[in-house]
């Protein structure tokens, strides 16, 4: 387990690029650290000086609401100087390559760069070119490690464990970095993972990652403890993946009727933003007894504070 002193945190990686690179010990260190920030974030005075004097750059090449604001807040609550790059007005629009942007930013001596990019592997490329730590806030369809970590923390908070739980991940798997990071993490922590998607949204050979695959949602949901719904990523769909949203809702939207196949105390999760009435029934999404979607957002700040602290120091 993690040592309790701040400056003796032993993590095996310099960067947080994906769950794939982490050991179970690394994951426990991050989750332990994050759970300490939950109370702080609920208290009146949320400011610490843990990262005082450190510079955090948020480099978001894709639009983001919750992840970017979550990282922004997390850095500020830890006392770091946070700068969010506005890509629209930057040299990237003038044709600068990612490596050149990285070199430019690197010359300003940041302590940590948080990057989101539409291309898989962009964070890996960046990490090879800068001296500071790189945190992946989502790269293409590859990984979104902090999302998976906050999902795990949410589950642990409610169910007290992950080992032995049956967890369904349902929806647009092929385009989803959230699904991939969650598969790695939940598998590592001992859950049984069911992947539910129409064949057009199921990535090739995904069963080789050690998951069960279903195209029938009801079968996939059977006896699940957690139902994780994913957003249909229409912006990444270039040709006919689905006939219509209403047919998708009929077969893959989470409705009370389908949820009945899961366990009675099953929890509903969604990384957001939601397409209400497409992948999830709007009342279910807001059902405070079943849905932990808001809690995911809340714990997201704690997880990101933990990651910033661990990888920055």
């Amino acid at each position: 387990m993690a040592t309790k002193t701040n400056n003796a945190i032993k993590i095996s990686q310099k960067h947080l690029l994906g769950i794939q690179d982490l050991s179970i010990n690394d994951v426990n260190i991050i989750l332990d650290e994050a759970s300490k920030f939950i109370e702080l974030n609920r208290s009146k005075n949320k400011k610490l000086d843990t990262l005082k004097g450190k510079t955090q750059i948020n480099l978001f090449f894709e639009p983001s609401t919750r992840t970017q604001s979550s990282f922004d807040l997390a850095g500020k609550r830890l006392g770091a100087d946070v700068m969010s790059m506005n890509i629209v007005n930057s040299a990237i629009k003038k044709g600068e390559t990612l490596i050149d942007t990285a070199m430019t930013l690197n010359a300003m001596h940041p302590d940590i760069i948080v990057i989101r990019h539409q291309d898989s592997g962009a964070c890996n490329l960046l990490s090879q070119k800068v001296n500071c730590a790189v945190l992946n806030a989502g790269d293409g369809r590859r990984e979104h490690p902090t999302q998976a970590l906050l999902d795990a923390l949410t589950i642990i908070n409610r169910k007290k464990k992950i080992e032995g739980l049956k967890i369904a991940i349902c929806g647009d798997i092929v385009h989803s970095r959230v699904a991939r990071s969650n598969i790695y993490l939940l598998n590592m922590l001992g859950a049984e993972v069911n992947i539910i998607a129409p064949s057009n949204l199921m990535p090739k050979d995904i069963e080789k990652l050690g998951v069960n695959i279903f195209s029938d949602m009801k079968k996939g949901l059977k006896d699940c403890d957690i139902v994780m719904m994913l957003r249909l990523q229409n912006e990444r769909m270039t040709s006919s993946f689905l006939s219509s949203n209403r047919e998708y809702y009929e077969y893959y939207g989470l409705t009370p009727d389908k949820l009945n196949y899961a366990k009675d105390d099953a929890l509903i999760m969604h990384p957001g933003p939601m397409n209400r009435g497409i992948e999830i029934d709007t009342n279910l999404a807001d059902d405070i007894n079943k849905s932990v979607i808001k809690e995911q957002v809340e714990l997201g700040v704690a997880v990101r504070m933990a990651c910033l602290k661990i990888f920055c120091i």
Binding site: Q20, T97, L98, I99, H117, Q118, D119, S120, G121, A122, N124, L125, D139, G140, R141, R142, E143, R177, R180, P203, K204, D205, I206, K208, L209, T238, S239
Partner: protein, 428 residues
């Protein structure tokens, strides 16, 4: 030119079924005057000096059917001079250049320019191909007849595929009438759309859009179905999967056509992509180890006819990008032979099979009198130390672009001398 005598070499010339210890004589006119076991110290005039190769190998100069050169338009990637030097260091003495230049080689006027540049700047034999369709757009056919008359050896859209079946059938009809050779890159664009690597567990893990093997299969099946009724000279540039090998093996029983494979697909698999190595972003993509093994087997049972380098020089700026943004292709003409020899050293293929696929087979398909050691023919050949170990280093490559797919790879076997028309143009 002074006569030259080489003795005590292992000579492999698949065209003439020669595989024996012997010598080679280059005449004063740069032609081969004698070859084989009858060339030895007993019948060389005593006043003549000879070179004892001490068991090194002599192969006919390699014929590489798929080479990209940057002229015109992309001279910063590769020009005829740098291509020629790179080729010679790898024992390649004849190449078919692809028409994907800027402008595209699609009309008669540009062929003159190409031939002149090829002749003035390169020391190897350049056989330019022209595009099948204007600007490789896949719509209007080029003038096969007129282009052929100017010296175009084959027709291909290079990196592109004719998607429209009606146009493909018309192209085949014209090729039949004019006896033109079609080189098709087999890829269905709709199935490969946005694809970057093989569709499978690696693409799923890396989060990269996959190119399914059926994208290749569908075009091969389509073209071979057309070929059944339109009998023309047709060659599939490169195949990449076990499934393609199987289809071609079956179809070859009834239809006459040929096919090639890139040395990359024979030697590497999708796992080599590792942590987003953009130098391994190739077309067709590297596939699974089972596919690679099937391709090797396809060569040994003659399903696959030729090995190509698919030499595609790209400057580093085009590769120092995210995988999605990076250019496709790898430089490879210099390492073509050495990397092929790996398949001999590890027991996968016979030496004759490899040399045939690099010399007489492509020459036969192209109908050129190259890739052999015929007496009276130009003395185009290379001398190879079959066991010499060496390491591929970017900085030692002669190609203008350094995008090798096998940086730091240890290879066994190296060309030590290359001759074109009797002249020694490369010496290690």
């Amino acid at each position: 030119m002074k006569k030259k005598y080489f003795i005590n070499a292992n000579i492999i010339d698949p065209h003439n079924s020669i595989n024996e210890n012997g010598g080679l004589i280059i005449g004063e006119n740069g032609k081969i005057e004698g070859v084989g076991k009858k060339v030895n110290t007993n019948n060389i005039p005593s006043r003549e000096k000879f070179i004892d190769l001490k068991g090194k190998y002599i192969f006919p100069g390699l014929v590489d059917m798929r080479v990209f050169v940057g002229e015109p338009g992309y001279e910063y990637k590769e020009n005829f001079r740098t291509l020629s030097n790179a080729a010679l260091s790898g024992g390649v003495t004849s190449v078919v250049t692809m028409p994907n230049t800027n402008p595209v080689i699609d009309n008669v006027s540009i062929v003159d320019f190409l031939k002149r540049r090829g002749r003035d700047k390169s020391k190897i034999n350049i056989y330019p191909s022209a595009s099948l369709t204007m600007n490789t757009e896949g719509t209007n056919m080029t003038e096969f007849g007129l282009l052929q008359n100017k010296g175009i050896i084959a027709f291909t859209d290079g990196t592109k595929t004719i998607q429209n079946t009606r146009i493909m059938s018309r192209i085949m009809n014209s090729a039949k009438d004019l006896n033109s050779l079609i080189l098709q890159h087999a890829e269905d664009y709709e199935l490969s759309k946005n694809g970057m690597i093989n569709d499978g567990i690696i693409s799923t893990k890396l989060g990269l859009q996959g190119i399914p093997e059926i994208a290749e299969q569908v075009i091969i099946e389509r073209d071979l179905t057309l070929l059944e009724s339109i009998n023309c000279r047709y060659h599939i540039s490169q195949i990449s999967s076990a499934k393609s090998v199987e289809i071609i093996k079956n179809r070859k029983e009834n239809i006459k056509f040929s096919c090639g494979v890139s040395i990359n697909n024979l030697s590497l698999n999708e796992n080599d992509i590792g942590d987003f190595r953009t130098f391994l972003k190739l077309s067709p993509p590297l596939r699974t180890e089972a596919d690679r093994i099937a391709l090797v087997k396809g060569l040994s049972d003659k399903t696959i006819d030729v090995i190509v380098s698919d030499h595609k020089p790209e400057d580093e700026e085009k590769k120092r990008l995210t995988f999605a943004q990076a250019e496709t292709g790898a430089s490879g003409i210099e390492t073509l032979l050495s990397l092929s020899l790996e398949l001999y050293h590890n027991g996968s293929l016979k030496l004759e099979t490899i040399i045939k696929a690099l010399t007489s087979s492509p020459a036969n398909i192209l109908k050129i009198d190259k890739g052999n050691l015929n007496v009276g023919n130009d003395a185009d050949f290379c001398i190879v130390d079959l066991n010499k170990p060496w390491i591929v280093k970017k900085e030692n490559l002669l190609s203008k672009s350094k995008n090798t797919s096998i940086e730091n790879k240890k290879l066994q076997g190296k060309v030590t001398n290359t001759f074109v028309k009797g002249e020694e143009l490369f010496k290690l």
